[in-house]
């Protein structure tokens, strides 16, 4: 270990995490890879399209964002297979990555995730990266169908109705799932902080300790 980390153990004896930094403008030749957004081959009978736009606080689409998804298969099984970076066309690895196109739209070919336990609301984990976004953001896209499961979901039920809606995908007539991501402003997507993530943006004011605030909702908007 370098002394940077050893000398700064937090009060809970956790090592202090390395800070994030923006993905910047030039990831486009490095992080995307062949079939990165195709968890299944397009046209596969089980496949759906998951797509949407990423917009900023002025409602403009971002041409330089990158989205990652990570999800169970349609039976709710969490994939453990390798091979996300070199697709063999058969193995469902559960992970996908794609840059938005010049119109700010991202597209994945995947499956509807199944419930990981009976009665659980199925969702896809989403990570958002962009130039101008200093640290990535986590969110979820829930399937809209199972109203009872959605009503029982701990995260969704902790949100005000208008905020809750930002996490539920919209099913389109052709079976596609639309999920628009709004980084700021009207209809701002709910982004998540997880325990032990010491993020200045999850405090009510800059510098305030985020410890012990789980479940307090977004009352402390900056």
């Amino acid at each position: 270990m370098s002394s940077h980390h050893e000398s700064t153990r937090a009060a809970d004896d956790q090592l202090v995490p390395t800070p994030g930094q923006t993905v910047g403008p030039f990831f486009g030749y490095a992080l995307p890879y062949a079939q990165d957004g195709e968890l299944l081959a397009p046209g596969h009978p089980r496949s759906i399209r998951l797509y949407g736009t990423v917009t900023d606080g002025a409602g403009q689409t971002l041409p330089d964002a990158m989205i990652e998804i990570w999800q169970p298969d349609e039976h709710g099984r969490v994939p453990r297979e390798t091979g996300s970076l070199v697709r063999d066309g058969y193995t469902f690895t559960g992970f996908g990555r794609t840059g938005v196109d010049d119109a700010g739209r991202y597209t994945f070919t995947t499956v509807d995730p199944g419930a990981t336990e009976p009665g659980k609301a199925p969702f896809i984990a989403v990570a958002v990266f962009a130039r101008g976004l200093m640290n990535h953001l986590h969110t979820r896209v829930y399937l809209p169908e199972d109203a009872a499961a959605l009503a029982a979901d701990p995260l969704l039920s902790s949100l005000e109705p208008d905020r809750r809606e930002t996490l539920i995908g919209v099913r389109e007539p052709d079976g596609a799932l639309r999920f628009d991501i709004r980084l700021q402003g009207e209809g701002e997507t709910v982004f998540l902080a997880f325990p032990h993530h010491h993020d200045p943006d999850d405090a009510a004011s800059p510098g305030q300790s985020p410890h012990g605030r789980a479940g307090t909702g977004d009352a402390g908007a900056q």
Binding site: M1, S2, H4, Q14, L15, P17, T18, P19, G20, Q21, V23, F26, F27, G28, Y29, A30, L31, G57, W70, Q71, P72, V78, P79, R80, E81, T82, G83, V86, F95, P113, T116, K120, A127, R131, G132, L133, M134, N135, H136, H138, P154, R163, Q184, F191, L192, A193, F194, H198, D199, D201, A203, P206, G207, Q208, S209, R213, D218, A219, G220, Q222
Partner: protein
Amino acid sequence: MDVQPPPLDPAATMESQQTLSAEIAAIHQQHRDAVAAGETPETQPRRNFPPYRSSLLRHPTKSLHHADPETIELVSPAFGERDVHPLEADLTIQHDGEPIGERIVVAGRVLDGDGRPVRNQLVEVWQANAAGRYVHKRDQHPAPIDPNFTGVGRVITGDDGEYRFTTIKPAPYPWKNHHNAWRPAHIHFSLFGTEFTQRIVTQMYFPGDPLFDLDPIYQSITDQRARDRLVAVYDHSLTSHEWATGYRWDIVLTGGDRTWTEDDAEAEEH
């Protein structure tokens, strides 16, 4: 005498480094004052950091919503030898010839918050060449592209969480945040942990860079000790005789508080 001002140089109408540096200093002073008043020092960058002008419309204005990670979030995608060839860790052998520049080794360990090694996980890097130019088509900086250097590498961490890249030391390069803005030399890193919640994309810097104080991206981390965690250390034990100098940089991932189970131990075997 009626002297007309010279035609405005468009670049000269942009904000000065002095303006940006003053904004950065004010934010850092606020942070120091908060710490002096008993607040916990910040350890991550601010997404809302106005000196980084591109952040103005791209940061959430509502607080992040606290959530307990569930199911899929408590594991990470699996990567392995199907995904990454061992030669991808050497960025100097991807073309017919040798890239121009200072050959370096960058190595370290990836750990979780408890200090456990993060094994068998994906580390991706990308960077400018020795002239400060990216291969990316949007990089129009008039510095030469090196036909022998793409600047992209990948590696899977070893049993001790270790990674190691051989590459060329990148140069600083200009960007358009403000007038005469230059980024310190850096290598972009992208990592996965044992949980998807531990995902991180960041940048590694080189010790003693004179551009640190001027850079709104680096300075978006308001605490000096936290900023230091992005700076590699020169390590002569990584330097090899008549071949390459060595830099060491360890990475600690956030979170990782999932209970360690027998299943995990078993999964490690595969």
